[in-house]
C-alpha cells in the first residue's frame, strides 16, 4: 500500500494532506495521532470508500476499492449485541463466503470438496487466532477479547495480502491488548501479511512495528518509529513543544509540553504509567 502526497477533504474541511507512506509486503505499519485527525478516514480511503482530493493512492498495486477481496478489514470497535445468537464460527465464515447469493445447500460435507476446503480453512484461522475453545459459542456471549480474536479470524479467513485494522486494541484491557497485539504481530511475520493498524496507543504494538505514520493538525510524518516518535518531530507536528519520554521498560510516553497542547486535549497518547 502506498500513498503519495495524498490529501482528503471531509465535509469541506481538509483533514490531512501531503501524506506519504509506503508499506511493503509483510510490513507492519501503525497510524497514530490525536483524536479527530482522520486516522480512520485513511482506512476508508484505502478501502475506496472515500475519494482523495490530491495525490495518489495504490493498494496492492491497484486503485483503492479494486482489491477489496485481497484485503482483510476490521472496523473500529463494533458493539456485538450480547443477545446475538450467532456462533463465532458463523461470523468467521461470513468473511469467507458471506457475500455470495443464496443459502448454502445442506449437503453433507463429504460430497463437496469446496465445502471441505472451506471448513478446513475456517478451522485453520480459528486455530491461528487461538479461538477454538469458544468458536462454537454464540458470539454475543464471548468476552471483548474473544470477540476481537474471532473478528480478526474473520478478516484473515480469505488469506488477505493486506490487513486494515481500525483500533483493534481499543476497549480491551491491558493484558488482552498485549495478547492481541502479539497475535497480529505474529500473523504479520509468519504469514507475510502487510498490516496497517490505526492505534490509540503505540506501546502494545511497538515491538512489531516497521513503520509509523503520525497524523496531526500540523501535517504528517512517516518512517520507522524511532525516527517519528521523537520530541522534535512531534513538536513540529503539533506546532507546540511536546516531549517524548522513554521509560525503563522501553515504553514511550508523550507529554504535552506547552500550555496549549495540554489544554487542547489533542493527544492520541495518554501517558502510560506502566
Amino acid at each position: 500500500m502506498s500513498l503519495r502526497g495524498a490529501a482528503v477533504r471531509v465535509g469541506g474541511r481538509t483533514l490531512w494532506s501531503g501524506v506519504d507512506l509506503e508499506v511493503g509486503a509483510g510490513e507492519f505499519a501503525a497510524v497514530l495521532g490525536p483524536n479527530g485527525v482522520g486516522k480512520s478516514t485513511l482506512i476508508k480511503v484505502a478501502l475506496g470508500l472515500l475519494p482523495i482530493t490530491a495525490g495518489e493512492v495504490r493498494v496492492l498495486g491497484e486503485a483503492p476499492g479494486r482489491a477489496g477481496h485481497r484485503i482483510g478489514y476490521l472496523p473500529q470497535r463494533r458493539n456485538v449485541d450480547p443477545s446475538l445468537r450467532i456462533r463465532g464460527i458463523d461470523v468467521v465464515r461470513m468473511g469467507l463466503d458471506g457475500d455470495r447469493w443464496g443459502v448454502p445447500l445442506p449437503l453433507p460435507v463429504r460430497f463437496s470438496a469446496r465445502r471441505r476446503a472451506a471448513r478446513d480453512r475456517i478451522a485453520e484461522v480459528i486455530d491461528l487466532v487461538g479461538a477454538s475453545a469458544y468458536a462454537h459459542r454464540p458470539i454475543g456471549e464471548c468476552s471483548g477479547g474473544q470477540q476481537q480474536r474471532l473478528l480478526i479470524a474473520q478478516a484473515l479467513v480469505r488469506g488477505p495480502e493486506l490487513l486494515l485494522l481500525d483500533e483493534p486494541l481499543d476497549s480491551l484491557d491491558l493484558s488482552h491488548q498485549g495478547a492481541v497485539a502479539a497475535l497480529i504481530g505474529r500473523i504479520c511475520r509468519e504469514e507475510g501479511v502487510s498490516v496497517v493498524m490505526v492505534a490509540h496507543d503505540v506501546n502494545p504494538i511497538l515491538p512489531w512495528l516497521d513503520q509509523v505514520l503520525y497524523l496531526a493538525e500540523g501535517g504528517a510524518a512517516a518512517g520507522p518509529p524511532r525516527e517519528v516518535i521523537t520530541t522534535e518531530t512531534l513538536s513540529r507536528l503539533y506546532g507546540t513543544p511536546v516531549e517524548v519520554l522513554r521509560t525503563g521498560h522501553g515504553r514511550l510516553v508523550v507529554v504535552g509540553g506547552g500550555h496549549r497542547a495540554a489544554g487542547g486535549g489533542g493527544h492520541g497518547h495518554h501517558p502510560e504509567l506502566g
Binding site: 449485541d81 443477545s83 446475538l84 445468537r85
Partner: protein, 308 residues
C-alpha cells in the same frame, strides 16, 4: 356499552355560533359526561405522559395500552363493567413490566421479539373474548378506536377518583422522580429510592393508560398520552411549563375532538390523533424554522442566543 351511532344519518348541524352549539350539545347528558371524562383524562394523560416521555417509556405505555383491550373485552365477557377490566389489566401489566428488569423498553432483537409476541397474544386474547361474547363484534371498533357515547355518570366519578389519587401520588413523588428520570445514578447516590419510584411510576402509568384507553380506544392512546407531551417538549425544556403546555394541548385536542366527533360520523379516535399529530408536526416545524432563523441571523444575535 353502547356502540353504534344510532343517529347515523342525521348529524346535528354546526351553526357557527359557539354558544348555541355548546348548549345544543350539552343538552344531551352523554355529551356532558363525555366532556367531563375527556377533561379528566386529558389532564391525567398530559401530566403522566410528560413524565413518560422524559423517562423514555413511551414503549411501556404502548404495551400497557394493548393490554387494556383484552381487559375491557374480558370484563364485558364476564358481565362486569369494562372500567374494572381496563384498570385491573393495565395495573397488572404495569406490575409485570416492573417485575421484569429491562422489560417494556423494547430493546433489541430477542427482547423485542418477546414483547412483540406477548403484545400480539394479548390482542389475540381480546379478540377471543370478543368473539366468545356473542353479538359484540361491532363493539370491537369502539374498544380499539374510542367512543364517547355511553359514558355513564358512575364512570365519570370513577375516572375522577382515579385521576385524583394518581395525580396526588405523582405530586408527592414529582421532584425525586424527575431527578431519578434525568440522572438515575446520581439520584441513587443522593439517596433517592430510584427503584421504588420507577415501580410506582409504572403503576401510575398503568392507571393513566387505562383511563386514556376509554376515550381514545386501545390503539390510539398515543394521541393523548404521548403526542401532547412530545409537542410540549418541542416547545419548552422547562419542566413546569412543559407540564402546563402538555395538559393544555391535551385539553384542546380532546375538546375539539369531541366536538368534531359529535358533528360528524367519524370516530373520536381519528379526530384526536389527527389534531394531536397536527400540533406535534406544527411544533416541530416551528422549532426547525426557529433554528434556521437563528442560523441565518448575524453573529452577535447568535452569540446572545447561544449564551446558555
Amino acid at each position: 356499552m353502547v356502540t353504534t351511532l344510532s343517529l347515523a344519518d342525521t348529524y346535528p348541524a354546526w351553526s357557527w355560533n359557539p354558544v348555541t352549539d355548546l348548549r345544543a350539545m350539552w343538552a344531551f347528558p352523554f355529551m356532558v359526561n363525555a366532556f367531563r371524562a375527556g377533561t379528566i383524562v386529558a389532564v391525567l394523560a398530559g401530566v403522566i405522559g410528560w413524565y413518560m416521555v422524559v423517562r423514555r417509556q413511551s414503549f411501556a405505555g404502548h404495551t400497557l395500552a394493548q393490554v387494556s383491550f383484552p381487559g375491557a373485552a374480558c370484563a364485558t365477557l364476564l358481565g362486569i363493567t369494562p372500567v374494572v377490566g381496563y384498570f385491573a389489566f393495565c395495573v397488572g401489566a404495569a406490575l409485570v413490566i416492573a417485575a421484569i428488569p429491562r422489560a417494556g423498553q423494547g430493546g433489541s432483537g430477542q427482547e423485542a421479539a418477546l414483547t412483540g409476541t406477548v403484545q400480539a397474544f394479548g390482542l389475540a386474547c381480546g379478540f377471543l373474548f370478543v368473539t366468545l361474547y356473542k353479538g359484540f363484534l361491532g363493539g370491537i371498533n369502539s374498544l380499539l378506536f374510542g367512543s364517547f357515547l355511553g359514558i355513564t355518570t358512575t364512570q365519570v366519578t370513577v375516572l375522577a377518583a382515579v385521576a385524583a389519587v394518581t395525580l396526588t401520588t405523582l405530586a408527592v413523588i414529582a421532584r425525586p422522580l424527575l431527578f431519578a428520570s434525568a440522572d438515575p445514578d446520581v439520584a441513587a447516590v443522593r439517596g433517592v429510592p430510584v427503584r421504588v419510584l420507577s415501580v410506582t411510576f409504572l403503576v401510575l402509568l398503568g392507571t393513566a393508560t387505562a383511563a386514556t384507553s376509554q376515550i381514545t380506544g386501545t390503539l390510539l392512546v398515543f394521541a393523548l398520552l404521548v403526542m401532547p407531551a412530545a409537542t410540549a417538549q418541542q416547545l419548552t425544556a422547562r419542566p413546569a411549563a412543559g407540564l402546563a403546555v402538555s395538559v393544555l394541548i391535551g385539553l384542546v385536542v380532546t375538546w375539539t375532538g369531541l366536538i368534531a366527533a359529535y358533528y360528524s360520523p367519524y370516530p373520536i379516535g381519528f379526530y384526536v390523533t389527527t389534531f394531536a399529530f397536527g400540533m406535534y408536526v406544527l411544533a416541530r416545524l416551528t422549532r426547525l424554522l426557529a433554528q434556521a432563523l437563528a442560523r441565518r441571523a448575524p453573529a452577535p444575535a447568535r452569540l446572545s442566543g447561544g449564551a446558555a
